[in-house]
């Protein structure tokens, strides 16, 4: 039965393709063999042009225009007003004194989130990778286990954790067993921020573990053999061989983590009901989203100016990453 079905499918594909072939072959003859690669590239480049390069150009257009019109050509030119509005502030450390206090709240929230998340994820991923790199039973199982959350959707993760942290959830049940009074974790600023970081580490650490593990397995084994002959202590082996040789990988992972952490949105949005409590977990992407789509105001100019600023930061991080990646290859 299965064989029959696949044979039918094959026939079908064959038939469709031979039909598709006719016009393409004609086009090929018309253009000449030399220009065929352009034909193959066309769909991709058209899509990139329309949905990536055009938006970049429009982005700049939005950032220097005001009003609420959607189409750039209908918007009045305001120069750098949007940037001025975002950046005018009496005291940058206190968002309340800024003209766009929400923007600065988001910046500071993102700043602290990136800091804690990068350090925590890197540490957890590194320790896990080092342990998994030891020859041991069940390595494949554990590697798969830690990787599993990476594949889940941010909405699913947000909801699963929201339920886990519910007033009637498992964590509170555990707290009660221990004699600790229950908490409404996601409505208390400190706890909510803590759990946004924890959920993020839980979600993504498997991915970074995998990259670091690949780096660890690329370290030449004879170095460890030499260390064993010299009766080097395990600590010395770690600090004199493993970590220095893993260094470039660690740096790449660090930058990658920073790039991704700056863009925190999906799972935090679901978990904290849109950045709550209050604005304690409102991050920069959320600010852009809310300015542009969150209300009927459609402050596209402000949103785009914020996007451009974030884009510049991300671009700088990416350039550092590329540089490091090139260096890694040279080694």
């Amino acid at each position: 039965m299965a064989i029959k079905a696949s044979a039918v499918l094959e026939r079908l594909v064959e038939g469709v393709m031979s039909l598709v072939e006719i016009p393409i072959n004609a086009l090929e003859r018309l253009m000449g063999r030399k220009r065929v690669p352009y034909l193959f590239l066309a769909p991709n480049l058209v899509l990139f042009g329309i949905f990536t390069f055009l938006p970049i150009a429009i982005s700049v257009g939005y950032a220097v225009t005001g009003g609420t019109n959607l189409f750039v050509t209908d918007r009045p030119f305001v120069g750098l007003d949007n940037f001025r509005q975002l950046l005018s502030c009496q005291d940058y450390s206190r968002p309340g004194t800024c003209q766009e206090s929400l923007f600065w709240t988001a910046i500071w929230n993102t700043f602290w989130f990136v800091g804690f998340n990068v350090v925590a994820t890197l540490l957890v991923a590194l320790v896990t990778a080092l342990i998994l790199n030891r020859a041991m039973v069940g390595r494949g199982f554990f590697r798969a286990m830690f990787f599993y959350p990476v594949l889940l959707s941010p909405v699913v993760i947000g909801l699963i954790w929201k339920w886990f942290l519910d007033r009637n959830g498992l964590l509170n049940a555990f707290f009660e067993m221990m004699g600790v009074p229950p908490h409404v974790f996601l409505l208390e600023v400190g706890w909510a921020r803590f759990f946004v970081v924890l959920v993020s580490v839980w979600f993504h650490m498997g991915f970074y573990t995998l990259i670091l593990l690949a780096g660890l397995q690329a370290i030449p084994k004879d170095l460890y053999e030499a260390a064993a002959i010299d009766a080097a202590s395990r600590r010395r082996t770690l600090f004199a061989i493993t970590l220095p040789l893993l260094g470039p990988n660690l740096l790449v992972v660090l930058i990658l983590l920073m790039i991704r952490s700056v863009q925190i949105f999906d799972e935090a949005w679901v978990l904290t009901n849109g950045g709550g409590p209050g604005t304690a977990n409102s991050f920069i992407v959320q600010y852009i989203y809310q300015m542009a789509f969150g209300s009927d105001l459609r402050l596209l100019g402000l949103a785009s100016a914020a996007s451009v600023l974030m884009g510049v930061v991300l671009l700088a991080l990416t350039l550092v990453q590329l540089r490091l990646a090139r260096k890694t290859e040279e080694i």
Partner: protein, 352 residues
């Protein structure tokens, strides 16, 4: 690569063979603790999704999905809950008629004429294991979840097919031809890796409005089809296909398109499979872009529907968790079967 153990390296790392030292124990604790930390929230949500509405908010919660057993007692028009009551040191199963403060009025189902009053703090419900299948069937019938599911499948399948075709074509041109500007095109495509959606989402939305695809599933699909990671992955793989094969086909007067789809594409199957897996995961889990593009309920994907649903029915956890689990299931199945390809694919390309 991963599974093989070099015996010499093995000795080198676990010094003193056969002796378990403190780092071995700590390693195992870390791994087992980590596994529990990964599993507990997921399994807990799964178990909770099978609990009936009345049970799900009970605190402290029970581990397994259970319901209080009900009995029909003559003289009472609705079924009564069954409780274990201890009277005079003898424990019996009785039905609860009503509860006032700390007093509960109980009745023996066999002898309904003589109710007794007992201390409500001393009784406990008689429960049995049940799975509340209505948590799954109700939302599918009543809350459009079947539509969301259909939309998600449509987006995932169509976007994946288009992704494979469009990017394989570009990768073929970039790996098997030399033409004016080939390097520039490659760099241009790869450079778009640096521009995440979060940076261009506002103008990208304008483009979608401009081409008339707002609140349309095609508006979710088309902008994500051209993928720089896809081009890169496939091109690297196609570079390993020997050019002699293509030359031989040209001698046989095969058209370039025929060479692409009869020779190169089948040989690229492993890389195409990896890209297909990634593509399915991206689309199935995608959130921010569909959230921006789609506005009417009948066009929601599962993730958007789930998010909207939890916002509106934030107390209906039995439904929310059931639908969460439904959305998690395909990914889990894919993972169970393709775990090895996914992990080695990611370790090899460093992408997600």
């Amino acid at each position: 690569m991963a599974g093989t153990i070099n015996p010499v390296a093995f000795l080198g790392r676990t010094r003193r063979r056969g002796r378990i030292d403190i780092t071995d124990i700590l390693s195992w604790l870390w791994l087992i603790g980590g596994t529990i930390a990964v599993l507990v929230p997921v399994v807990w949500a799964g178990l909770s999704s099978m609990k009936p509405e009345a049970e799900i908010t009970r605190f402290p919660p029970s581990l397994l999905p259970r319901t209080t057993q009900q009995v029909v007692v003559p003289g009472y028009d609705r079924p009564l809950g069954l409780w274990t009551v201890t009277i005079d040191g003898e424990s019996r199963e009785m039905a609860m008629v009503r509860r006032i403060g700390i007093k509960a009025q109980m009745v023996d189902p066999e002898n309904p004429a003589a109710p007794v009053s007992v201390d409500a703090r001393t009784i406990s419900p008689v429960q049995k294991l049940t799975i509340a299948t209505e948590n799954y069937s109700d939302p599918l019938e009543r809350f459009n979840f079947l539509t969301y599911l259909k939309n998600s499948v449509f987006v995932t399948v169509v976007a994946t097919i288009l992704t494979l075709i469009v990017n394989a074509m570009a990768a073929f041109a970039l790996s098997k031809y030399r033409f004016r500007g080939d390097k520039a095109v490659f760099v241009l495509i790869i450079s778009t890796l640096m521009i995440p959606l979060t940076v261009v989402m506002v103008p990208a939305y304008m483009v979608i409005v401009g081409v008339g695809l707002v609140d349309n599933l095609w508006g979710v699909i088309i902008p994500t089809v051209a993928s720089p990671t896809g081009v890169f992955l496939l091109r690297q793989y196609m570079l390993t296909i020997p050019d002699e094969l293509i030359e031989a086909a040209r001698v046989d007067a095969a058209s370039e398109f025929r060479i692409f789809w009869r020779i190169v594409l089948p040989l690229t199957a492993p890389a195409l499979a990896v890209l297909a897996i990634f593509s399915v995961l991206w689309r199935w889990n995608d959130f921010l872009w569909p959230l921006i593009v789609l506005s009417s309920r009948e066009n929601f994907t599962l993730q958007i529907g789930l998010n909207a649903f939890q916002g509106e029915f934030s107390v209906q956890w039995h439904y929310i968790l059931a639908m969460t689990f439904l959305s998690l299931l395909p990914v889990t199945v894919v993972f169970l079967f393709l775990q090895k390809y996914i992990t080695t694919g990611i370790a090899g390309t460093g992408m997600k």
